[in-house]
Symmetry: C2
Subunit: 318 residues, 2 copies
C-alpha cells in the first residue's frame, strides 16, 4: 500500500488558492501533503505508460485524519476495517517533499484531559474540605518527576490547565491536558500507566489530607488523542530496499522517528516507512507553505521514490 | 464615626425596584445595606428632635467600596486621607438588620494572582525545558501543606487556575489566584510571607530541575485584594458599652469576626464594631434579598442600636 494524506492542519474555509512565482508554488498544505497526492497520480500514469509489472499488487491510497486530532483515523480504518486489511504486506506513506530522510520509527502519543471534581465551597467558611486544584497540582508535580529514557525518546508535558470561577471559592473543578509521547510502544505504555497511577494516588492523597464531609474528589480521564508507537527494523527489507533505491539516485537518506500514517502499520508489526515526494519545500503547517517544482530536482526525487516503491513491491519487468 | 455602606454586590443596571408584601420589602441590597442608610437618617432626626447632647461629636457617613473588589476603599479613604482622619476615636458600622451579633473581629484577606512565565516550546522536540505549570503545581502543593491555627481562624485557598494553549506545547504561562484570610493581622502577615516564599522556592526548584537553555521561569504577583485584619478587644469600652446597650433592650448579642468596614479602623488600633439596623431580613447578596419592617421588631432593634451609639459617644443629656 502506498498512501498520501488528503487532510491538512488548516481549518475549513482556509484560502488554499495556489500562487505561483517561477517554479515555486505557495498554498497552505501544498507540500504537506498535496504534492504527494499529485505525485502518486504521476506514478500510476508512469507505471501504466511503461507497462511495469510487480511481484505484489500496489494499492494507491489517499487517506484522511493524518493531522492533529485526526489521530490517524484514515489509515487506522484501512488496517482494521478496510476491505484490504488482511492483504497489506508493506506500507509506504509519501508525505512532504523531502527525500533526504526515511521515517522508520513511529513516535506514539497519548493525550488526555484529566478532570478533578469536588464539592466546592466558600474559601473561608468551608476551609478544610478537599480542593480539586490541590489534587491536580499533586498529580502535576509527580508527573514532572517521572524519569524517562533519552533513547527511545520518551516525553511528557503538562500542557493546558484550568479550573475555578471565583477567588473566594474552593473550586468544584480543575483540569489538566497531558501529552505523552515515545518512540517505543513499551515505554509509552509504561508512561501512560505511571501517569494514570499518579492521578489516582493524587486523588486519594487529597481525600485523605482534607475533609470529605461535603463530598470527595473524583476524577475523570477523557482521551484526546491516541497514536500508537512502533518501528520498522533497520535490517528489514522495506528499509534496506528503500534506502538502496534512494542512494542509487544520489540521495543519502537519514533514518528518523516521527509521527506519520506509518505509525499504524508499525504498531501492528507490518513493515512501514515514510518517504518524500521530491523537490523542495518549506513552512509546512503555516499559511506561507511552499514547494519548488523545478523540474530537475523534482523529477530526480520522484524517480528515486518510485524506485523505492518498486523495489519494495518487487519489480518484475516492463 | 457611624457609617453604613452605599454600595451593593450587584452590578450596575440591576433592577432594584422595591416590591412590598405586607411589612416585607424585597429588593437587591435592601438589607445589605440600604436599610441601615435609612436608619442612620432616622437616628439623626431622632437626635435632633430630642435635642440629644453627647460628649463626643458623631459623624454620620455613607461610604462606598465595602463589597467585593471595593476592598473597603471608602472607609480606607476616611481613615487615611479624609479630612476627619485624625479625629475619629471610635467607629461603628451599621450593616444589615441583625441585632443579635456584634462584629468585634475583622477577618483580613489578601488575594493575588500569581503568574508564572517561561519560554514555551514543542512538547516533544523541546522536552526537558522548564514548564511554568510544574512551578505553579509545586507552589500549590506547598500551599496546601501550610498549617494554620484554628484560632484565630486562618485559611488559604487555591481558587482559580489557568494556562497553556495547545496540548502539544509546553506553555508559556500558567497562573493561580489565591485567597488568604485570617482573623489575626499577625497570622495573615505570616501566611502571606509563607505563600510568597513558597512561590519563590517553587520557581527556583523548577529552574533547577529542568533546563533554562531557552529561558528561565519568572513570576509576577499581582494583588487582587487586600483587606487588613484587626480586632477590637472584648474588654474595650466600645464592645462593653454596645453589648450592655443591646442587652438592656432584650438582645443577647454574640461576638463575631467578619469582614466589614470596621476592618480598617481595627487594623489601625481604633476601637471599632459592627452592629445591626434592626428588624429582620434574609437572602443578602441574592436577587431575592428582603427585610421585614414590622414596627415592633424594627423599632426595638433601632432603639437598641441607637442606644449603643449613644453609649459609645457619651450621652450627656437631652
Amino acid at each position: 500500500m502506498v498512501a498520501a494524506h488528503l487532510d491538512t492542519v488548516f481549518p475549513e474555509g482556509t484560502d488554499v488558492t495556489v500562487r505561483r512565482e517561477g517554479t515555486k508554488l505557495y498554498a497552505p498544505g501544498i507540500g504537506d501533503d498535496t504534492r504527494s497526492l499529485a505525485v502518486l497520480l504521476a506514478f500510476i500514469r508512469a507505471l501504466d505508460a511503461a507497462s511495469i509489472r510487480t511481484r505484489n499488487d500496489i494499492l494507491f491510497v489517499g487517506d484522511v485524519g493524518e493531522e492533529g486530532l485526526g489521530d490517524l483515523r484514515g489509515v487506522r480504518h484501512l488496517f482494521t476495517k478496510g476491505r484490504y486489511r488482511d492483504q497489506i504486506e508493506a506500507f509506504i506513506t509519501v508525505d512532504s517533499p523531502q527525500v533526504d530522510n526515511i521515517v522508520v520509527g513511529g513516535v506514539g502519543s497519548k493525550r488526555y484531559s484529566v478532570r478533578f471534581n469536588g464539592p466546592g465551597g466558600h474559601s473561608f467558611k468551608a476551609f478544610g474540605i478537599v480542593n480539586p486544584i490541590y489534587a491536580m497540582a499533586q498529580a502535576i508535580v509527580e508527573l514532572g518527576r517521572i524519569e524517562v529514557p533519552e533513547t527511545p525518546r520518551t516525553t511528557f508535558c503538562a500542557s493546558i490547565v484550568g479550573g475555578g470561577t471565583s477567588v473566594n471559592a474552593i473550586p468544584e473543578e480543575a483540569w489538566i491536558d497531558i501529552d505523552l509521547r515515545s518512540e517505543s510502544a513499551e515505554q509509552l505504555a509504561r508512561l501512560d500507566a505511571r501517569c494514570r497511577a499518579i492521578v489516582a494516588a493524587a486523588v486519594e492523597q487529597e481525600n485523605t489530607a482534607r475533609s470529605t464531609s461535603e463530598g470527595a474528589i473524583t476524577v475523570d480521564i477523557r482521551t484526546l488523542g491516541d497514536r500508537p508507537a512502533g518501528n520498522t527494523p533497520m535490517d528489514s527489507d522495506i528499509v534496506q530496499f528503500a534506502t538502496a533505491a534512494l542512494q542509487a539516485h544520489g540521495f543519502a537518506p537519514r533514518h528518523e522517528a516521527s509521527s506519520t500514517d506509518a505509525n499504524i502499520p508499525m504498531s501492528l508489526g507490518i513493515p512501514a516507512i515514510k518517504i518524500g515526494s521530491g523537490g523542495t519545500g518549506g513552512r509546512a503547517h503555516s499559511l506561507a507553505e511552499w514547494i519548488d517544482v523545478e523540474k530537475t530536482a523534482s523529477v530526480s526525487g520522484m524517480t528515486a521514490s518510485l524506485t523505492a516503491i518498486l523495489a519494495v513491491a518487487g519489480f518484475v519487468g516492463a
